[in-house]
């Protein structure tokens, strides 16, 4: 027996597992199921509440033991329901108790067909009921937010959802109230469950108690398909599975990549898919003063004409939401075909960072973490916040610093900073900023020009909403848009070519770790693939571009990704190894500390729940940040500001009333307000109670 292993017997099978392994996992290693409801290691230590996992365990008292709370030990003898009448009786008993007050309404329940309670009852439960008394009933279903419905009668009180809320998301929103048989899951005073991660509770609920309002009554498990893909709404790139029925996306679920997301999604990634069927979705090219639908041939002709007019002075503004292939195709067209090498790129991610690369999950084991980001992490890369919280629960010290200059400059400096940091993550602003940048540089060699743009190409709705891009657009003679929504380009572009969503395309993206991942087409777009028309347009400029993402990828890959193929990227992508550290570079420009009066620096941040997709998902609007100001404890104390109280925030004659939220996740000297609530405040503000 090798060191660190223990050997035990489960249902007469001997199995060796590392010391500290839980019995549920040990049994799994032996190919044996120990049924569970409340047990879910991602939620923290076991709670032993549901009693589904009762087994006969020796040594131990002569009664069934909750296997989920025990660890494998040398010489332990475990008998599950397969070999122990005691365990079988106990598990049958647990199911009988779970069902006494359960409505047994499986035929009309969304969970029916994919319900652990249904499955385990089938395998371990009683065949009929001895309950002839009134069941508990509740008003049902009740909304716990516009996104989630709660059916209390179906709830088996496994406390998974409340543990998620308290111990994973740490939002303290979803709780159990009352005691004993009267316990129910609830939010505070019927207020909605506001939190970046609320939707996860619908996925961890082992019965049909917490369901997504979007998915309710939309499909049955036997009529759906699941497409493994990757979320395209932020730089984390959580692995997802898109449930589709009759060519429509019906829900998004997690596809647990333990290094990236551990099975959690933010609500934007989970619920914002309604944008696919938005009212203002562009389904044909638009042209003319009033952006009316035009034919495809006409659209390609006009695009060619405008691009020829713009020539080398044409500027391309990218969103960072494009796939690597789309960005590359566009870049080939512009750089090789049009000869326009000027681009507004969404991110500058220095290569040096790859020497500090690690999977996000490594955060959990860090002892010291410095967050140098004046925007809230959760608004920029939500799941990263969950890893930070896990690290803190694990005993990590987390400090919050506020870079004075642009973050990008700080990043450039990293190789020179003697931080001693072993791992560095950069949180880009856009979902695939890094992939788009790589694709752009891989596509051509020419130098950008410094001319006034005559023609501007705006790729993506996010770029179209970007104020700096809009300034450029005002200076350009003509604007070509590529995007999904008419409203994004209204009054801005002269020609709009339809774009597609990340759920409608094949392709790759690079997340904030530098991991190349594959997105798969979950549903057909109502318009042709971007690559399809790009290849036609490119041909007008004698550029050969394949309309197929896999072929385009091979071309990019040969240049940037060491020639890996689509198939090799796979469904669960690995992180490439760390790059060698580069030689010390010239130190970046020293940033001057900004001059400070007694005021606080205001960061008007862009909330996660904003942007084109969220705007088109009304159910998500309640998640937009409230009119609160985040302030560090020291700054609050110095000003006599109390948590939750209304404060006055003023600068240069403007003043606003906002609710104070004191948070440690913020460097002193900074206050944060969501962009929508910052009004006309200037960069330096005074805060008074």
């Amino acid at each position: 027996m090798s060191a660190g292993l223990v050997t035990l017997t489960i249902d007469e099978r001997e199995v060796s597992v590392p010391k500290g392994t839980g019995l549920v996992e040990a049994a799994l290693a032996a190919g044996i199921e120990i049924p569970v409801f409340c047990y879910e290691p991602r939620l923290g230590p076991p709670v032993g509440a549901c009693r589904m996992c009762l087994c006969e365990v020796q040594p131990g008292p002569p009664k069934p033991q909750a296997a989920c709370t025990l660890q494998a030990a040398d010489g332990m003898v475990v008998r599950t329901a397969r070999t122990s009448a005691m365990a079988a009786e106990a598990q049958n008993g647990t199911l009988e108790f779970l069902l006494v007050n359960h409505p047994l309404d499986c035929p009309v329940c969304d969970k029916g067909g994919e319900c652990p309670l249904q499955d385990l009852t089938f395998r371990y439960g009683p065949g009929n009921t001895r309950m002839t008394f009134p069941k508990r009933t509740f008003e049902k279903p009740i909304p716990i937010s516009p996104l989630i419905a709660l059916d209390r009668e179906r709830c088996i009180l496994c406390y998974r959802c409340t543990r998620f809320s308290e111990d994973v998301a740490e939002d303290g929103q979803l709780v159990a109230v009352n005691r004993g048989a009267q316990s129910v899951i609830a939010t505070f005073e019927d207020e909605p469950y506001v939190g970046h991660f609320s939707g996860n509770v619908t996925e961890i609920c082992p019965v049909g108690a917490l369901t997504s309002t979007q998915y309710r009554f939309e499909a049955r498990p036997w009529e759906i398909q699941s497409v493994p893909t990757v979320c395209g709404l932020c730089p984390v790139g959580c692995n997802t599975s898109a449930t589709t029925r009759e060519g429509k996306v019906k829900r998004i679920q997690s596809r647990n990549h333990p290094e990236i997301d551990e099975g959690w999604l933010c609500d934007k990634g989970r619920f914002a898919y309604d944008h696919l069927t938005a009212r203002d979705r562009i389904t044909a090219p638009l042209g003319g003063n009033r952006l009316a639908p035009i034919g495809w041939d006409e659209a390609i002709d006009r695009a060619e004409e405008l691009l020829r007019r713009g020539g080398a002075s044409t500027v391309t503004a990218l969103s960072g939401g494009e796939s690597v292939e789309e960005a590359y195709g566009l870049a080939r067209l512009m750089r090789d075909g049009v000869g326009a090498n000027t681009a507004v790129l969404p991110e500058q991610v220095p290569d040096g960072l790859d020497a500090y690369r690690a999977p996000l999950s490594a955060l959990r084991d860090c002892k010291t973490i410095a967050v140098l980001c004046d925007e809230p992490v959760v608004e920029r890369a939500p799941v990263v916040e969950l890893w930070l919280k896990a690290a803190r629960r694990n005993g990590a010290t987390i400090t919050y610093g506020a870079p004075e200059g642009p973050v990008d400059a700080l990043v450039t400096d990293l190789p020179n900073l003697q931080l001693g940091a072993r791992t560095v993550y950069y949180l880009p602003r856009t979902p695939n900023g890094r992939g788009v940048t790589d694709a752009w540089s891989a596509a051509g060699e020419g130098e950008p020009v410094d001319e006034e743009p005559r023609v501007l190409v705006i790729s993506g709705d996010e770029a179209a909403q970007d104020p700096s891009v809009r300034v450029l657009a005002e200076r350009a003679d003509a604007v070509i848009g590529i995007g999904m929504f008419r409203d994004s380009f209204h009054g801005l572009a002269h020609l709009v070519l339809p774009g597609t969503s990340y759920l409608e395309r094949d392709g790759t993206t690079i997340n904030l770790e530098g991991r190349l991942q594959r997105q798969r087409r979950a549903v057909l777009a109502p318009v042709p693939d971007v690559l399809a028309w790009l290849s036609k347009l490119a041909a007008r400029f004698d550029v050969e571009l394949s309309p197929h993402a896999s072929v385009v990828f091979e071309e990019v890959s040969a240049k940037c990704f060491g020639g890996v193929t689509f198939a090799e990227v796979g469904e669960r992508a690995d992180l490439p190894p760390r790059a060698a550290r580069s030689e010390t570079q010239e130190p970046g420009s020293q940033r001057e500390p900004g001059s400070r009066d007694s005021g606080l620096r205001l960061v008007a941040y862009r909330p996660l729940f904003s942007g084109a997709a969220v705007e088109r998902t009304p159910e998500l609007h309640f998640q937009r940040p409230g009119d609160e100001i985040q302030i560090a404890p020291a700054d609050a104390q110095a000003r006599g500001v109390v948590n939750g109280a209304t404060v006055t925030v003023s600068s240069n004659g403007t003043s606003l009333e906002l609710r104070a939220r004191i948070t440690r996740e913020l460097a002193p000297g900074i206050v944060r307000i969501a962009r929508d609530h910052a009004g006309d405040l200037h960069a330096t503000v005074q805060v008074t109670p």
């Binding site: 009693r51 647990t94 108790f97 009134p134």
Partner: protein
Amino acid sequence: MAELQVLLAGTDDHDLTKLDEYLAVGGYAGVGKARAMTPEELIDELQRATLRGRGGAGFPMGRKASLIDRSSPKPKYLVVNADESEPGAFKDREVMARVPHRLIEGCLISAHAIEAHEVFIFIRGEYLSEYEILQAAVDEARAAGLFGDVDILVHRGAGAYICGEETALLDALEGRRGQPRPRPPFPPVQGLYDAPTQINNVSTIATVPAIMEMGAEAFAKTGTESSPGSAIFSISGNIARPGNYELELGTPMRELIYDLAGGVPDGRELKAVIPGGSSVPALAPDEIDVPLDYDSLQKIGTFFGAASLIVVDDRCCIVQLALRSAKFYQHESCGKCTPCREGTRWMVQILERIEAGDAELSHIELLESIGSRILGRSLCALGDFAVYPTHSYITKWRNEFVAHIEQGGCPYGGASSLEGIVAPLDQHTHSPMAEVPA
């Protein structure tokens, strides 16, 4: 055997709530003795005394102290369980109201044994006067410089029987819903704030000074061999002289009921004795010739429990007794684990039906079967506590259950002593829980 004054010694002629009077009877001498020993020596002394826990399970207090992981870099905590919510029990209350300094002295000694610098006394919220007396005594002793490098914090509960369960108590003390934790890990390894924690009942800790005074050997010679010392027995119900009696362990139950407490009054017959508080199996009149100690009671199929006897006379309908008791456990079930949460409610439903005369004989078996599916399978012993007495009522007074069913109603015809009793469970009309027929 009879009265042995250990806990209440000196209370006859002194007001021991006052520090100077307690000092006058030799109080706090044990602290000095204890602090002259190393923690190892002290734990050894406590182990030799074999003082068994007075909170219910009877686990030896010294052995518990020896399990504390003193090598842990975390602080060690001593927690005193003053939640006393077991129906029938009111002994710890007497200790706190009359000899608070003895409890405090016990805390200081025990804290030294486990190298704890912080002691928490968790007192049930309803004990307001007792809290005031205890808090005053703590303040007085602290002011007198008796604490050394130890501090004692009295923490008030807020009304939940389950908080007497030691791990639920820890959660309540941490500011949470008081729900039990799975074990392992056990509190001596990972208890309050995840640090090594010793938890003992008030009477257990208040007995510790006597061990210091008498010496472990002498203490171990009192009481019985396996259950040394004395205990305060609470006796209540249909009894002539209810109250608390401090007795040497091993005193015959009959002696307590008849000689000391005056037997069943009003010329009624004894029907049942629930010997350890309402959570243990009841005894029939022919079973009361038993010494009051842990092992003797266990040998006849019941438990020492909270050393609290509830005496029931022949006016009481046993089904009503079972029902009232079951309503208590349903009301107090914390709701964390399935068998207890669902099972206690189901038991109440069946008992209500039997009492109403609206049941079938098979319901008795159903009741027993549900009980056996709770027993030993719930997360903490509250589930067991709901079942033990019920099973004993069915086994020993089965004819009464059958009579209800066969006669289509309560054979007492409204004359039972528990007729119509309103349980708190019955008044939860504002709860979100409604009922519809199955």
